[in-house]
């Protein structure tokens, strides 16, 4: 039953896209579209969470690949991801009701937006390789169109190009993976793939291909190159969808293939996801730390979080391979929990960025500042998002990271030395990325929202409309709830863990005081609610005591600042100067920085300049050579189009003679 709900609403989403084209003259078409999208996402969300008669629902439609048809299926995993997708979808649509009003060319968004939602839902519902890939590529295609919304900007056009190219690269990788899985007979429905037996080399191949394919969509380093270009290019609510939701769909794909279709894992499967995950986490956070473009920064931090998720998945694989059901379940749960969390706070942050963008028409934090005064509500909500994503208690980001750490702490029970020694290293990367992430968001928030406005626009900015604020508030509330009552989330995820890694964490609801204990209370436990209450209690008691016995008087005066009198806001610490220490100490890992200081001689009146140019190593050493190679080959072969007729004849002649010789021998 839920499946049919889901199907009808997906097709309804497609229909909405058509409606947008038909009704384009109507001034409030965009409101209508987004309203309907909210409703449909709502239905889909309900369909996902509504109790299902059987744990697995499936159906087959007579479309798609003729002799296979479109297989659809909802099991615990796809239900979870359906929920995530449509939660994000509904939020984005609600936000867009207000935000979309500012769109100059709405017709470049409206037809594709619902289609994009439909595509993501279809990926999660699909149960055969063909429809999975169709939905997958359809998702890429529609989001590509959305990335090109502001196509006048050459930067965005490039972003769109790189994005779709990488997407199709990943698509081909998946295609080949499914080719191996489906076999020469072409049995592409997941059911028969599950049954089929796979030899060793094939599993390795499929694993690598799946990692490449899904990773390129999720933004796993070094395939992340497109993500920081494409995500910021789109309108903010779409960026939120792409960063918060689409990457999760990719994670879903990875889980589906590796944990489900590929059969029982071997321990070495875990190595690739873990190492690439760690790399992405570090690279992502380091680049995020040096970004001055708010949306780019968020995009890079998405890469970091994806890294975290893949680390957890890798752990789950390692444990599962060794039949350690409980730790596997812990790691798996951590991964899904982080998926859920990241979809929440990344959407929230992108909405905030969108609000800033609309408020001041400015994406670079270097020209912002003091927004906490001009747009207080947004500032508060954005702060919440920052705390959540920086993995600080008592919000939700911390819980999932904490679970990952707990999983890592169980790694000594792994027999294989490679993994045993790899895990702590991964742990360092994880810890580093977490703390660097915090630093990165201190910088982002501090420069953009605190201090004094660096531009007129920042000074006169206004809070966005009620819809946008409402959406952000709702998301923040969810973050808080997930942080305070993690046990509920964990217990919802447990069935998925049971089905996919063959074990489940102890039911958290049974623990006293709503606290969570991954393994046993004697080993480790955490109680967000209690901590939260403690903090509030002590903060307020302190305040009460001080106001009662101490003074509560205060007066305003110019800032002291060690007695320096500085008038211009330009004297504030900028984003790049904030990032300097990290750039110098840790930057070397990911990028090469050149700082040039041009200091005028004494008496010379011109200002001194510090110019920094940062190079992305991965791009320089991996992608640039590739493009160069293609270019050279292209220009080399281009001679073929400039030959004379008898040279062409000579080609034919040569081919003929060659083949005749072949035949003769």
């Amino acid at each position: 039953m839920p499946l049919y709900f889901a199907l009808t609403s997906v097709s309804a989403l497609l229909a909405v896209g058509v409606y947008a084209i038909v009704d384009r003259r109507n001034p409030d078409v965009s409101r209508n579209v987004y309203r309907i999208c909210i409703a449909l996402c709502g239905i889909l969300f309900v369909a996902a969470v509504m109790p299902r008669g059987a744990s697995v629902l499936s159906a087959t439609l007579p479309f798609g690949l003729p002799w296979i048809g479109v297989h659809l299926r909802i099991d615990v995993l796809s239900a979870f991801f359906l929920a995530v997708v449509n939660l994000g979808g509904a939020a984005a649509s609600a936000y867009a009701i207000g935000y979309g009003a500012h769109e100059k060319e709405p017709m470049r968004v409206l037809p594709f937006y619902p289609a994009f939602l439909a595509g993501m839902n279809m990926v999660v519902l699909a149960d055969d390789a063909f429809s999975f890939l169709v939905a997958w590529e359809f998702m890429s295609l529609t989001s590509w169109a959305l990335v090109l919304t502001h196509h006048h900007d050459a930067e965005n056009r490039r972003a769109g190009f790189v994005y779709l190219l990488m997407a199709s690269f990943g698509g081909f990788a998946l295609l080949m993976a499914f080719g191996v899985l489906g076999g020469a007979g072409g049995a592409y429905d997941f059911a028969s793939i599950r049954e089929s037996t796979k030899e060793g080399w094939k599993t390795g191949l499929v694993l690598a291909l799946a990692l490449v394919g899904m990773g390129s969509k999720a933004g796993l380093a070094p395939l992340h190159i497109w993500l920081p270009l494409a995500h910021p290019a789109a309108p903010s609510h779409v960026s939120a969808l792409m960063s918060g939701v689409m990457t999760k769909v990719a994670v879903y794909g990875f889980i589906r293939v590796v944990f489900d279709l590929l059969g029982p894992p071997a321990f070495w499967w875990s190595i690739e996801p873990m190492s690439f995950g760690a790399a992405s986490a570090l690279i992502g956070v380091l680049f995020a730390t040096i970004q001055s473009d708010l949306k780019k920064l968020l995009a890079y931090s998405t890469i970091e979080n994806i890294g975290v998720i893949f680390i957890a998945l890798g752990l789950a694989l390692a444990f599962k391979a060794n039949g350690l059901a409980l730790p596997a379940a812990l790691a798996f749960t951590a991964a899904l929990f982080h998926v859920f969390n990241h979809s929440l706070f990344k959407s929230l942050l992108f909405f905030g960025a969108g609000a800033v963008l609309n408020g001041c028409g400015e994406r670079s934090i270097e020209r912002l500042g003091g927004l906490i005064h001009s747009m207080p509500k947004t500032a508060f909500l954005f702060l919440g998002g920052c705390v959540a994503i920086s993995a600080l208690p008592p919000l939700n980001g911390f819980v999932s990271e904490w679970l990952v750490f707990q999983a890592i702490l169980l790694s000594p029970s792994l027999p294989q030395w490679t993994v045993k020694l790899l895990v702590p290293a991964v742990g360092v990367a994880l810890a580093l990325s977490a703390t660097l992430g915090a630093g990165c968001y201190i910088r982002a928030y501090g420069v953009a929202f605190l201090g004094r406005p660096r531009s007129e626009a920042a000074r006169t900015a206004k809070d966005p409309d009620r819809w946008s604020l409402g959406t952000m508030a709702a998301l923040l509330t969810l973050c808080l709830l997930a942080g305070l009552l993690p046990s509920l989330v964990i217990d919802t995820i447990s069935p998925a863990a049971r089905d996919f890694v063959g074990g489940r964490m102890p039911t958290q609801a049974e623990l006293s005081w709503l606290s969570i204990a991954p393994v046993a209370e004697s080993r480790s436990s955490y109680n967000g609610l209690l901590i939260f209450v403690f903090i509030l209690f002590s903060a307020y008691s302190a305040r009460w005591v001080i106001h009662k016995f101490g003074s509560s008087r205060s007066r305003r005066a110019p800032a002291w600042d060690c007695g320096y009198i500085e008038t211009s806001p330009a004297t504030q610490y900028t984003g790049s100067s904030f990032a300097q220490p990290i750039r110098r100490t840790l930057g070397i890992i990911a990028f090469s920085v050149k700082e040039r200081l041009d200091m005028p001689a004494p008496g010379d009146m011109r200002p001194a300049r510090l110019s920094i140019d940062i190079k992305d190593r991965i791009f320089d050493y991996l992608y640039a050579p590739l493009t160069r190679a293609v270019e050279t080959c292209a220009s080399g072969l281009n001679i073929l189009s400039l030959l004379t007729i008898q040279e062409y004849l000579a080609l034919v002649f040569g081919a003929l003679v060659f083949l005749l010789i072949l035949v003769a021998i």
Partner: protein, 317 residues
């Protein structure tokens, strides 16, 4: 009855750490002065300062925001909660299970987060300097701490401080890994509390300061809260080291008053020793350049990782 007792014990610990933290500061100052052949202020002096600050009115910069004003309370509260979750004289207190070691570290992290933000709120260059340096130190120190947690919990098989303490007390043995972890933790503690050689709590020389730069604009009760918070942090680290590596005399939560009294005595002893060592160290070293600090902390991180790996070695042998 039992419940009530636990509750009281927990409350007592909260108040205890609150009361002791300024004293440990005063104690170290006193010792340092003595080591320098000065008389030095009385041990109680920090409390006096705090109380005076609390009585003063606050001077706020013009563009200070609500964040700036609420940050001190948050920072204080978070640090206090964290500090009161570390076993001091007794393990397994009522709420000790509500946060394990990782969570405690993360709580300190949140405190740092808000402190750094508060530093940037006024929009002065010093605040920025302080915050950015704090962010960098933090991003190196916390991983090191996490590594130490790994080591300890690989050994003890838990991240609950009470359990760790119990384990350590239970089987005393010398482990290379644990030793390294201790050294790493010392390094981290020094950095996190902004002591010499990383930062000098006594100086206000602009370009060298980190912590002081962030709180430059604070005054009155806000300053008091922040000072108190940093004092609590110092205390927290000392008692953390004490309870993990020297869990001598720690009482169990159901061990009864007498055991607790012993535990308290032992705890005070440890504090005294810790303070003394700290003073000794600080007087015998000079502050290092800011950009050498990362190497210092990096050493801590490396030690932590090494310790973690060595655990396996000792395990496997």
């Amino acid at each position: 009855m039992n419940f009530l007792f636990d509750f009281v014990a927990q409350g007592a610990q909260m108040l205890l750490v609150l009361a002791l933290s300024p004293l440990i500061i005063g104690f170290t100052r006193k010792l340092k002065a003595r080591l320098l052949r000065r008389k030095g202020p009385p041990i109680i002096q920090p409390w006096r300062d705090l109380i005076r600050l609390l009585r003063k009115e606050v001077v706020l910069a013009e563009n200070a925001s609500w964040l700036y004003r609420s940050a001190p309370y948050l920072i204080f509260a978070m640090t206090w909660v964290a500090a009161s979750l570390v076993p001091t004289f007794a393990t397994g207190l009522m709420f000790s299970w509500s946060a394990d070691l990782i969570a405690i570290i993360a709580l300190l992290g949140s405190a740092r987060f808000f402190l750094a933000l508060a530093g940037m709120d006024i929009g002065t260059s010093f605040g920025g300097i302080g915050s950015s340096r704090e962010a960098m130190f933090g991003s190196l120190a916390e991983p090191a701490t996490i590594m130490i947690v790994f080591t300890v919990s690989f050994v003890a098989g838990t991240t609950q401080l009470s359990e760790i303490a119990a384990y350590m007390a239970g089987n005393l043995e010398l482990r290379a890994s644990v030793g390294m972890a201790l050294v790493a933790l010392l390094i981290v503690a020094i950095a996190e509390n902004g002591r010499v050689p990383v930062d000098n709590p006594a100086t206000h020389l602009e370009l060298t300061m980190v912590h002081e730069a962030m709180v430059l604009e604070y005054s009155g009760r806000y300053l008091a809260l922040i000072e108190l918070a940093s004092a609590l942090k110092l205390l927290l680290y000392i008692s953390l080291i004490a309870c993990v590596f020297f869990p001598v005399g720690l009482a169990r939560h159901d061990a009864g008053l007498q055991a607790m009294a012993i535990g308290l005595g032992a705890y005070l002893m440890k504090l005294a020793i810790g303070g003394f060592l700290l003073a000794l160290f600080e007087t015998s070293t000079a502050k290092m350049r800011v950009f050498r600090v990362p190497d210092f902390l990096g050493a801590g991180l490396m030690l932590g990782l090494l310790a973690t790996l060595l655990v396996f070695v000792t395990r496997s042998l």
